[in-house]
Amino acid sequence: MLKLTKRVFIVLVLSLLSFGPLQAQHGKEEEHAEAVESHGSESHEPEEFNAGEFVIEHVSDAYDWHITSWGETHISIPLPVIVYSKHPELHDGQAFHVFMSSKFNHGHDAYKGFRISESEEFKGKIVELDEQGHELGKPIDLSLTKAVAGALVSVVILLWLVFSVAGAAKRNKGKAPTGIQNLFEPVILFIRDEVAKPAIGEHKYEKFMPFLLTIFFFILINNFMGLIPIVPFGANVTGNISVTMVLALFTFFITTINGNKHYWKEIYWPDVPVWLKFPLFPLMQVVEFSGMLTKPFVLMVRLFANMLAGHMIVTVFVSLIFIFASLFSPAVGLAASPVSIAFSVFILLLDVLVSFIQAYVFTLLSALYFGMATSEHH
């Protein structure tokens, strides 16, 4: 299943790469042309549908949470923008700015010398402008973006679920589990008995259980929330590389902090004859050290790519309707819609599976790394 997803993802990425830039350029030219032709007028020609941009927009992070567009009216939830300027003299001497993203009017306007860039270099990011309106570069950007907001929504749900389980656990002490406890306990037991115990060992696993459980349920809930296409869900949280990077960093730091003498010895001074060690002396250490870093890196990329691919495929299948409609006629698009909806549903179901698998794989690999860091001998 994973392989299938990956293969589909590769095919899609290749196809996107082949026609995406063309489309984007085409779109940009048109935009320019439009901007020149009908500057200031309200009556735009209906924009041609650009599948590549549509898909990328759907999976990328954003400063506001887009709900829907109706003609030229964009409906979205504004999110707080928090920026620390590197050029306070351009913003009335104030460096720290907090405002809602609605001030940008969906990227159309500049506000207080900031705007969402449309240039090649900073596309989609907030940039500072000088008096002439040229982009100077990015400020320190701590905005609460769509991914962060989506993560916060998931966290609220996660806390609510887990705390109700904890409450039930306290209430039913020594008694049979009830309600949602029944749903969570088998999963918790699975993580404990099938993941933590075999990977880390009977005696040391307990210390890592809270982290493994938290990371499993955090990823799982975020994966699921990402599959629900209704606000306030559907944000691409686990398909965001910053998010997966943070999760992988946690695993990395916990591994490193808990690494025992044996773990470090394996890296820098393994049990091989000295005469074998010397010809490769610095090289082996460098390779081992990079191995230490690639482990979390792989964790980061795997989760990111899998979840991003899922989101992209679903969006692509939905956008097939519009591609057909714009290529031929709306009737063809309508005729293609059952097929693309069926495909989307199939991919969504596949994504439910992938959500579980990725949460499990991330947890299992983290547990294995902890096991490596704390094992006493081979």
Partner: protein, 164 residues
């Protein structure tokens, strides 16, 4: 590049969010949940163990009961056997005693009979002697009725004495 480049702002937010979630859940949720699970597992294990023990105890009791029953049966048999033996012994003894007693009375009877017989014989002897004497008297009286015979007799007696 936007998709694969980590965004520092998002990283900072996520570090805070995940860190806080990890801390809160670790402190207030996972500990009680894991403890409750462990406790329940332990209580189930002890319950099962004690059930097993009770089962063993019951089996032990059963075996004991059986043993007691067997013993009782054996004891009963022994008692019956003993009683039988006793009975036989008593009967045998009684028989023996009776035999002895009978023998004794028979012997006594025999002795008595013997004594009676002896006395009867003696009586008869006495009477025979008396009768004989009577007869002899009468015979003698008859033989010595004439004088000649008396003298012959005396002469004979005197001859016998002289010879001596």
């Amino acid at each position: 590049m936007g998709l694969v480049m980590p965004n520092p702002g998002t990283i900072i937010w996520m570090l805070i969010i995940f860190g806080v979630v990890l801390f809160i859940l670790k402190k207030f949720a996972w500990k009680p949940i894991l403890n409750a699970l462990k406790e329940r597992e332990e209580s189930i294990a002890t319950a099962l163990n004690s059930a097993e023990e009770a089962k063993k105890e019951v089996a032990g009791l059963k075996a004991d009961n059986e043993k007691i029953i067997i013993e009782a049966r054996r004891e009963k048999d022994a008692i019956l056997k003993e009683a039988k033996e006793l009975k036989e012994k008593i009967i045998a003894e009684a028989k023996e005693k009776a035999g002895l007693e009978t023998q004794k009375s028979i012997d006594q009877a025999r002795l008595q009979i013997q004594a009676e017989k002896n006395s009867a014989i003696n009586d008869i002897k006495k009477q025979v002697a008396e009768l004989s004497i009577m007869i002899a008297e009468k015979v003698i009286k008859k033989q010595l009725a004439g004088k000649g015979e008396q003298e012959k007799m005396v002469d004979g007696l005197i001859d016998d004495i002289k010879l001596n």
